[in-house]
């Protein structure tokens, strides 16, 4: 693939051209020239877009595509297309499948499905067999096959001894263990944040306490085991505090927050809209403020869309019965860019690769082109027309976003809207 990107403002602090508006010549997938003005004698395809900006390719550490088993929600092929059109060049895919991805063969299946795609798919293997929280899955074997982390998606590890063993065992080969922050006995049958809104709606509450107890427990176990822990999708103010303190103690812990948990409070559930039914649940403004300060000071290492397509049959039903989840890849950039500066937004969208032991490729001559292309200034209302996912369960539907994505250049391919 040969392409000439015209008049693009580079947003990449690791690039010599950071904040400069330049032309970028890409030949056979590699950046061969960057300068103010590049001629196009070979008549390569040119990309010119309004207010075009480029950055290193974005990465999302928590997406679900359903396949195998839940193809009615999403397929790997369409999921990766969605990621590409949403500006992502890499996604870590959860074992949110049926059967659960918990073996070498399963990891290989995911890799092979994504082989020729512009977007790199990094599989996350289940931490326990069938994600049932009883016995460890073959973690080393899965790592050999390409698993970047081990996570029973949204299933808490109830048994603290199992968490201890997981952290100890995975540290043999620097495996990244993820623990969903929820104490199930405390969360009980809760379907939304426990607060005055849950009380007024008669919905069972899932208290912040459930998350914080589990975070505290896992940090204690981490300190004991000296392992490597990632806590995906924290949602409460106290979780931020706990992790901040753990980092000060130099524990090897990282964490993420879902973008929607940075924007919406539980009050959005007042109309029983099931697209707002997510796990962890939407919390309060106080939590949002603490999460945002955690993002700003680096306590929270990465943000994620926690993209989770759910088909209409599991969403257009009574609230208690509806499945948790919202799609988020398509709205990720516009939502983040609405609350952070473009510099911070890009930083957040490119963070996390190192934690998952992935390469980063700054925008420089000689590097392979791994680019996201976007306009940070446009504003629009996010509608079904902006959704590429097979399922349309978007929390952000009808909301105003700032910034739209043009596409990506990665793996010697161009995907552009």
């Amino acid at each position: 693939m040969n392409v000439l990107v015209k008049s693009a403002t580079i947003v990449d602090p690791k690039s010599d051209f950071h904040n400069q508006t330049v032309d970028i010549l890409i030949e056979k997938g590699t950046i061969s020239q960057i300068s103010k003005r590049i001629q196009n004698p070979k008549n390569y395809k040119e990309i010119r877009r309004d207010n075009l900006h480029v950055s290193q390719g974005w990465f999302d550490s928590s997406v679900s595509f359903g396949e195998p088993g839940y193809e009615e929600r999403e397929t790997i092929a369409n999921g990766l297309d969605t990621a590409a059109k949403s500006g992502f060049t890499a996604v870590a895919v959860n074992a949110n499948t049926n059967p659960v991805i918990d073996s070498y063969a399963d990891i290989s299946f995911l890799k092979s499905k994504a082989e020729k795609h512009a977007v790199n798919l990094y599989p996350i293997g289940a931490l326990t067999k069938h994600s049932d929280g009883t016995d460890l899955a073959e973690l080393f074997d899965m790592k050999t096959a390409g698993a970047v982390a081990f996570y029973d998606y949204q299933h808490p590890i109830a048994n603290p001894n199992l968490m201890k063993l997981a952290l100890q065992y995975a540290s043999n080969f620097k495996g990244l263990v993820c623990s969903f922050p929820q104490e199930s006995k405390i969360s009980g049958l809760g379907v939304m944040n426990e607060n005055v809104t849950s009380t007024s709606l008669g919905l069972k509450g899932n208290p912040a306490l459930a998350e914080e107890l589990q975070v505290a427990r896992d940090l204690f176990i981490l300190e004991y085991t000296e392992g490597k822990l990632h806590i995906p999708t924290i949602s409460t103010a106290k979780s931020v505090e706990l992790i901040r303190a753990a980092k000060q103690k130099k524990l090897d812990v990282s964490c993420s927050v879902a973008i929607h948990n940075l924007i919406y409070t539980d009050e959005h559930l007042k109309t029983f809209n099931t697209n707002f039914k997510v796990l962890p649940p939407l919390r309060t403004q106080k939590d949002i403020d603490a999460l945002i300060s955690g993002v700003k000071d680096g306590t929270i290492d990465m943000v994620t869309s926690d993209h989770n397509p759910i088909d209409i049959e599991d969403k257009k039903i009574e609230f208690d019965y509806a499945k948790y989840g919202t799609i988020g890849l398509e709205s990720a950039f516009g939502a983040l860019n609405s609350i952070f500066t473009i510099k911070k937004t890009v930083e957040l969208l490119t963070n996390g690769r190192e934690r998952y032991a992935m390469d980063t490729t700054p925008i420089a001559v000689g590097n392979s082109a791994n680019l996201s292309m976007f306009n940070p200034n446009s504003t629009y209302t996010f509608t079904k027309d902006h959704m590429f996912s097979r399922s349309k369960n978007a929390m952000f539907e009808g909301h105003n976003l700032k910034g739209n994505v043009y596409g990506i250049i990665a793996n010697n391919q161009l995907v552009i809207q």
Binding site: G188, E194, V196, S198, T199, L201, L203, F272, E318
Partner: protein, 309 residues
Amino acid sequence: MSELSVNHLLGIKYLNKKDIQLIFETADHFKEVINRPIKKVPSLRDITIANLFFENSTRTKLSFELAEKRLSADVINFSASQSSVKKGETLIDTVNNILSMKVDMVVMRHPNPGAGVFLSQHVDASIINAGDGAHEHPTQALLDSYSIRERLGEVGGKNVVIVGDILHSRVALSNIYALQLQGANVMVCGPKTLLPKYIKDLGVTVETDLRKALNWCDVANMLRVQNERMDISYFPSTREYTQQYGVNKALLNSLDKDITIMHPGPINRGVEITSDVADSDQAIILDQVQNGVAIRMAVIYLLASKIKH
């Protein structure tokens, strides 16, 4: 002519004060009707109402059915145990199937909070919520306030305590909203395990000592402990619950004033109230039941008149 501000009765929280006044004034008229020798009016001869009960109910279902028949509406009944719901049909499909037979109004009881709201967003009929999980039971709260008004002259300014299992109660929530709209002071009383942690934020006072609560109030609304909604024991034994939160005649007699005792039914005699309390002049439990028919006639009549417009 005045009309309701809403097209459905999904919860008290969606009503305003004028709606409640209108419902009460209309109920006054119907209360007079149901005490006539011929207890029926021809108002809704052109209206068909489906009573959909996805959860067991005795008095609410009977009360609605009677109200509908007193208004001369055509009535069909449906309960989940006999239906296709058991075969996996969705709520929207079930209701749309019924509506396609030209039904104008749906009265629904459902175990899930928000089921009525959900239905109103997706089907074309007037919906009356007859209880949705632990969310709301608006006609119960209306008849409760109506009964207080009947006994004490007005609701505004009165002190009302709701006692018992607030956590699992739709009656409590609807009552809180209804009483507050009319200017009453509301307290909830029960063991902390049965009080939602954030209930105070709804503007009610919280008391765990029943004697203090009863001394404060003009009216005590005694709720049943909803064992069927509990996934774990919220208190050690019924005996111990009764020791702390049961009302008996001796306790009532020891108060400084005569308070009014209410209960939405069904009563667990000897648990939340003893028989001598339930059957005393201070209790208005059977008045509540009678008023329930008049209130439901009023609600159905007022919503039906909006359909006709």
